[in-house]
């Protein structure tokens, strides 16, 4: 049987769940990983602090580049406690008294470079 049973779709007319949105100009992202939720909730709202297994909590992703962060009002930034964390008087915000804070990197634009140089990906 070679014959198609019939192409029943209208290709351009099928309703699809579309989640394509404009990408923010993030090249490099980062977020903080905390061993104590109180440190995260000092930086962000409780809703922005997500469990990451065990007692670890991660904050939201933000642009590494401060210029980009300023252009994007939705960017959560490095956290409210940072002002205190980096003040000349030391750890005045209280964070750091509970647990450790590390930063982990994240990125977009890590795929696509070869095609951007003009070679078509199709064959």
């Amino acid at each position: 049987m070679k014959r198609s049973d019939g192409v029943t779709l209208t290709v351009a007319g099928v309703a699809l769940v579309t989640a394509t949105v404009l990408a923010p100009n993030y090249q490099s992202l980062e977020r903080k990983r905390y061993t104590d939720r109180r440190d995260c909730e000092c930086d962000y709202s409780a809703a922005q602090c997500q469990s990451a297994g065990g007692t670890e909590v991660v904050g939201p992703w933000f642009a590494s580049d401060e210029t980009i962060r300023r252009q994007d009002p939705a960017d959560p930034g490095p956290g409210h406690c940072d002002r205190h964390w980096r003040s000349s008087s030391g750890y005045s915000g209280g964070r750091g008294e509970h647990g450790s804070v590390t930063t982990e990197p994240g990125y977009r634009n890590g795929f696509g470079g070869t095609a951007r140089r003009g070679t078509p990906p199709r064959s």
Partner: protein, 370 residues
């Protein structure tokens, strides 16, 4: 097999556009050929189907034996790529689709030029647009084309009935690529899965997994983007540790390279569906074609009078030399048969013809019937 003039449909361009095929003409040059078609006999279609199934079976055996031996030297894969190939094969990650380019004139056995097993395109026109054409022009005739149904079935069977969210990524600067992915996404949605489309550049990596623009994990990703490019780009280093299931699977790295051709010839010398091929051409008599291992759309393909000439000019580990088999000529029009494999089955053909011996991105798609 014959090339026929057939009546062009009224308002055919508008029809194609309504079907989502809005790149039927590019820079004023038609890509879709309205008003001509190829007619086959049923026996010819049977030959194409059988050859495609046999060649695909030979490819799968070759992958199995290569993984079993662990010898990837002929494929120029580094240890990381080889590990991905092995992992995906041992997990039995299923293939979705591929397109073999075959030489066929209706008289001799079909011959494999190459296997576009990773990022095949011209899917929309082969699966849907030429089918709509058949309904309009030759509604009583048949067409070797069950690509659409087989795609839906492949999506349905892929996770044993489990419904997933599947991401579809392409390089969206290309309308043709986007349209191919949109069509494929439609077949996935018709199988019941949720689908999300994004530009390959918008895939994010955040420590442990690939994420979409909503920061949702990408658990299954169809990518119209070559494996070898992905592995070379900055995110390539994360592929091994990410939980993402890739479509096509990484073992397709062994099939989407022209290094497949010498590998098959070595295993099946003299096979009627193969052309002699090797890395240095020494054992090939007569004219040859030099092909880059990873060339696309005819780029870098060159015909030489002898293998010695090819080797003298193009000697490189990145070149594969194949016996020259000219495309058949139908009053100067040279068709190549794109024979689709969906899942592991021959599923239909699409024909692109050109005026030269090398099919490139300027070739035209011509519908067929039998």
């Amino acid at each position: 097999m014959e090339r026929l003039v057939c009546p062009p449909r009224d308002h055919w361009a508008a029809r194609l556009e309504a079907q989502g095929f809005d790149y039927h003409t590019s820079d004023g040059v038609p890509y879709w050929s309205e008003g001509v078609c190829y007619r086959f006999t049923e026996d010819e279609i049977d030959q194409l189907e059988a050859a495609t199934d046999e060649l695909h079976g030979m490819c799968l055996s070759m992958v199995a034996d290569t993984v079993a031996s662990g010898d990837y030297h002929a494929f120029s894969l580094d240890a990381d790529a080889a590990a991905l190939v092995e992992r995906s094969w041992k997990r039995r990650e299923p293939a979705l689709m591929g397109r073999m380019d075959l030489c066929f004139d209706g008289r001799s056995a079909p011959k494999l030029y190459e296997y576009n097993a990773d990022t095949p395109t011209s899917l929309l026109e082969a699966a849907a647009i030429q089918w709509f054409w058949l309904q309009d022009v030759y509604p009583q005739a048949d067409q070797f084309n069950s690509i659409h149904e087989k795609l839906i079935a492949a999506w349905q069977q892929r996770w044993h009935g489990d419904l997933r969210t599947v991401h579809f990524a392409s390089f969206s600067a290309s309308r043709e690529d986007e349209a191919n992915v949109e069509y494929l996404r439609t077949t996935c949605a018709l199988a019941g899965h949720a689908t999300i489309e994004l530009d390959i550049q918008d895939v994010g990596w955040k420590g442990r997994q690939f994420l979409d623009l909503q920061d949702q994990p990408i658990d299954q990703l169809f990518k119209l983007y070559p494996w070898e490019w992905m592995l070379d780009e900055p995110f390539g280093q994360h592929i091994a540790s990410a939980p993402t299931e890739w479509i096509e699977p990484a073992w397709k790295l062994l099939l989407s390279t022209k290094a497949l051709l010498p590998a098959l010839w070595k295993r099946h010398p003299g096979h009627p569906n193969l052309l002699a091929a090797s890395f240095d051409g020494r054992l090939i008599d007569g004219p040859v074609v030099a092909k880059p291992r990873l060339g696309r759309e005819g780029a870098g393909i060159q015909v030489f009078p002898t293998a010695l000439d090819a080797w003298a000019e193009r000697a490189s580990t990145d070149i594969v030399i194949q016996q020259y088999q000219p495309l058949p000529s139908f009053e100067g029009h040279r068709p190549v048969i794109g024979s689709w494999v969906i899942g592991n089955q021959a599923a239909g053909i699409g024909i692109r013809e050109s005026l030269t011996d090398i099919t490139s991105n300027t070739s035209r798609f011509v519908p067929h019937w039998f």
